[in-house]
Point group: C2
Chain length 428, copies 2
C-alpha cells in the first residue's frame, strides 16, 4: 500500500462530518429508539397510490410521451413544470408572474432545495465572505457555508421571526468593521422555521427586504427566502412571501421544495431567481449534473396537472396538525408544570423547539442526552442549529423535536421517556 495521500482542495479541507450523522447511526443501530431527531416526513401519507396511478397514465402505450420522461431533459428543468411552478408561486401571493417581473427563464428545478441553496451560495461566496442567517437556523445549509468558507453572522429571532433591529445592528457592526462589501447573502427560513417552527410576521417581511436594499451599497445582497414549509401551514393563511415585495425581481430568490409536501424521495426543489442570477445559476447547475431527474420531474408535473397535488397537501396538513397536537399535548402533560421549560407552538411545519433551564446541557456528551438515549429517545441538541459566530456563545440548553415521521403513540412515549430522562438529570 502506498503511504502517500491525496492532496485535498481547500474546500474539501473545510468540510467536516456533521454531528447529525451520529444521530442517524444511533437510530439505525437501535430500532427501538424513538427518534424525535430525524427530519423525515410521515410514512403513511406518502403518495404511493398516486404514484401508481400516475405511472399507469404516463407509461401506458409506447408513444413518445411515455418515452420523454426517460430521455435527457434540459438543465433548468422541464419547461411545462417550470411554467406551472411560476404560476403557483406567484398566485400564492395573489400576484401574476408579470407583477413580479418574473418569467419561466427565472425558474430553476434542482435536486431538492438544498442543491439550489448550495448553487446560489456558490455563485456569490468566496472564502471570507459573509452570510447572515437567523440564529438558530437550518443546519444542513450551515454545513455548506462552512465548506464554501463563509463567515456567518447570526441574527436574533423572537416569536415573530428574525428581528429587523437585530439585522440592522449586525449590518452596522459589519460596516464598522469595514466588511460591508463582504456581505453576500441574507438567509431566511421564513415559514415554520427549521429548527424553531417560528414564522416571520407579515409586517417584518418588507422590513427585512428594505434593510437588505439599504445596505446593498456596493453590490446587491441576495436575500434567500427558504420557504420549504410554507405550504404546510395548518392554521389560517400563511403570510405573503418576501418575494412579493421584490417586484422588480432583483433581490430575492424564493426557494421551495416538494420534499415536505409530496415526496422527499423524488427530491425535487425549485426556485424563482432574480433575473441577474438566473443564467449564472443554470451554468453552475450545468456543471453539477446538467439537470435533475426528468423522470421525477414528470411525476411532479403530472401530479400538479391532474389535480392530485393540492388535495394531497390538504391531507398532509390535517395529518400533521394531529401529530403536532399529540406532541404539544404530551409536552404539556410532562413538562407543563416544570419551571423554566418552554416550547414553541408552531402553526405549521414539522418541528417544535424545546428550551430547558439554562443549566440543562442538551449535548451528546451531557447527562440529559445520555439518559434519554438510555430511556430510548433521541432529539437534535439545539447547539447544532447555531452556526459558529465569533460574537456570540452558542446556547446549549435547547432541543429540536421532529414529529414528521413518528407515529402518534411513539410521540407520546418519546416525550414520556424524555421527561423521565429530564427528571433524573434535573434532580441529580
Amino acid at each position: 500500500m502506498s503511504s502517500k495521500s491525496f492532496y485535498f482542495s481547500q474546500r474539501a479541507k473545510r468540510t467536516h462530518e456533521h454531528p447529525i450523522s451520529y444521530l442517524m447511526a444511533e437510530a439505525v443501530a437501535n430500532p427501538d429508539l424513538i427518534s424525535l431527531a430525524a427530519g423525515l416526513v410521515d410514512y403513511q401519507t406518502l403518495p404511493s397510490e398516486e404514484i401508481l396511478e400516475l405511472s399507469k397514465e404516463i407509461f401506458s402505450g409506447g408513444q413518445r410521451s411515455a418515452k420523454n420522461p426517460l430521455q435527457y431533459g434540459v438543465t433548468p428543468g422541464l419547461r411545462e413544470l417550470r411554467e406551472i411552478l411560476l404560476d403557483h408561486m406567484a398566485s400564492s401571493d395573489g400576484m401574476t408572474p408579470a407583477e413580479l417581473s418574473a418569467s419561466v427563464e427565472n425558474m430553476i428545478i434542482t435536486t431538492g432545495s438544498q442543491q439550489l441553496l448550495f448553487i446560489l451560495t456558490d455563485l456569490l461566496v468566496d472564502p471570507g465572505d459573509i452570510v447572515i442567517a437567523a440564529w438558530p437556523s437550518y443546519f444542513v445549509y450551515t454545513g455548506a457555508l462552512e465548506t464554501l468558507g463563509a463567515e456567518v453572522y447570526g441574527v436574533k429571532i423572537d416569536q415573530d421571526g428574525m428581528i429587523p433591529e437585530s439585522l440592522r445592528e449586525t449590518l452596522e457592526q459589519i460596516k464598522a468593521e469595514g466588511k460591508l462589501s463582504k456581505v453576500k447573502i441574507l438567509y431566511v427560513v421564513d415559514y415554520h422555521q427549521n429548527p424553531t417552527g417560528i414564522t416571520l410576521s407579515e409586517q417584518r417581511r418588507p422590513e427585512l427586504l428594505e434593510i437588505v436594499k439599504e445596505y446593498s451599497t456596493e453590490h446587491k445582497i441576495l436575500l434567500i427566502e427558504d420557504s420549504a414549509y410554507r405550504e404546510l401551514t395548518y392554521e389560517g393563511e400563511p403570510p405573503s412571501s418576501i418575494k412579493k415585495f421584490d417586484t422588480n425581481n432583483e433581490y430575492v430568490a424564493l426557494v421551495q421544495t416538494f420534499s415536505k409536501t409530496f415526496s422527499p424521495g423524488i427530491k425535487i426543489g425549485y426556485g424563482l431567481l432574480p433575473d441577474e442570477l438566473s443564467e449564472p445559476a443554470m451554468l453552475q447547475k450545468g456543471n453539477h449534473d446538467f439537470g435533475s431527474s426528468n423522470f421525477g420531474q414528470t411525476f411532479i408535473y403530472e401530479a400538479f396537472r391532474r389535480g392530485l397535488y393540492k388535495p394531497h397537501v390538504e391531507l398532509l396538513k390535517k395529518r400533521y396538525t394531529e401529530k403536532r397536537d399529540v406532541l404539544l399535548n404530551s409536552l404539556e402533560e410532562h413538562f407543563g408544570d416544570i419551571e423554566g421549560v418552554t416550547w414553541t407552538h408552531p402553526s405549521g411545519g414539522l418541528y417544535v423547539w424545546l428550551t430547558f433551564p439554562t443549566h440543562i446541557d442538551t449535548h451528546f456528551e451531557a447527562a440529559l442526552f445520555q439518559e434519554a438515549k438510555k430511556a430510548g429517545v433521541i432529539y437534535v441538541p439545539g447547539g447544532f442549529c447555531y452556526a459558529q459566530d465569533r460574537r456570540q456563545e452558542i446556547p446549549m440548553y435547547e432541543a429540536r423535536l421532529s414529529y414528521g415521521a413518528v407515529e402518534d403513540e411513539k410521540i407520546v412515549e418519546g416525550v414520556r421517556r424524555l421527561s423521565q430522562a429530564f427528571q433524573s438529570v434535573n434532580k441529580g
Copy 2:
C-alpha cells in the same frame, strides 16, 4: 430598478456558457433539422414498459416497501443498490470486491456520472491545479474544469486510446516546469470515448496506471476512469477496467452511469472510489443535495434485481449496432471516395469522429457548418471537444457525429445533407 449588480464569486466568474447550448437552441428552433449533434439516446428503446411493470410491483398495496422509495434516502445512496453495483463492477472484471479491496462504503450514487466527476474534481482541485485529459475529451467535464480553475494538459490519443508515451512526456514537461505537485487528476474515458468512439487497449490500461503511480511522488494523482460506455460494447468483450489493476483501491475512481444503458431521465450514476476519497466524497454530496433521488434509485435497483436490466442492455447493443452501421455505411457511400476524409469505426458507444482535410473549418462561423445548417443537418464542431491547452493549437477540421437518438432514415439523410454541404464548400 437598481443599477447595482451582485458581486459574483471567483468560480462564477470562471463559468461560461458552453457553445453546445447554441446547437440545442438551433435544434429546438428548427424541428426539420437533423441533429447529429445531440448526445441523446435512442427513444424507441427507452424502457417505458419495464418502468410501468416495475411501478406496479413497487407501488401496489400500501405497505412500507411502497412508501420507502418516496421517503428520504441516505447521502451515499440506497444501500441495496450500492451492494448490487459493487458486485456488478467487480464481476465485470472477473473479480470479487475483496480482490479489489473494495466495500460498499466505497460506492456512491450520484445524479448521473457528471455529478460524481464534479465532486471528485472539487475534492482535489484548487485554482491553478492541473488535470490531464485525453485531447480531445468529453466536453461537459471540460466545462466543470474551467469553473474549478484547473489548468488542462491534453494527451495525444491514437486508435488504441491515450498514448502512454505521450502521457509520460506531458508529465515530464510539467515536472520540468516545477509543477508536478499541481497535478491532481488524470481523466480517461476509456471505452468508446466521447467524442471519438475510441477504446483504450487492454495493454495500455496497466501502463497508464503505472505512470500515474510513478509520478505520484508528493501526493497521489487520482485516475478518474469514466466508463460511461463500457456496457455498450457491440463487438466482443470490452477490455478490463483500469480499476482491475488498482487492487489496493488506492488510485482509481471507476465511474459509470445508467444514462446510456437504461434511462438518462432517471439520471443515476455511480462510482467505486478509492478508500481515501470515499468519506470526503460523501461529505461533498451531503452539501450538494444529501442524496440523489431515492425514487429513481429504487427503479434501477428493482430493474437489476428482477432481471430486467441485463436483457435491456442486450437489446440496446443490438439496436445501436444497427444504427452505427447505418451511419458508417452512409459515410462510406458519401465520403468513401473523398481524399482526406476519414472517420472512426467504433466497436461501441454512441459517437463517430469525422476528420476532414485540414483546410475544412468545421466551426459555427465557417462555411461548412453554415451550409450544413442550410441543408438541414448539424454536428458538434470538433474544436469544442478540446480543452484549452496553451501548448497546443486546437484542430479545427473535425466533427463529432452522434447516432443515438436519430432514426435510421434520418441518419442516412443527415449524412447525405452533410456531404452536400461538404461538396459545396470543398469546391468553393
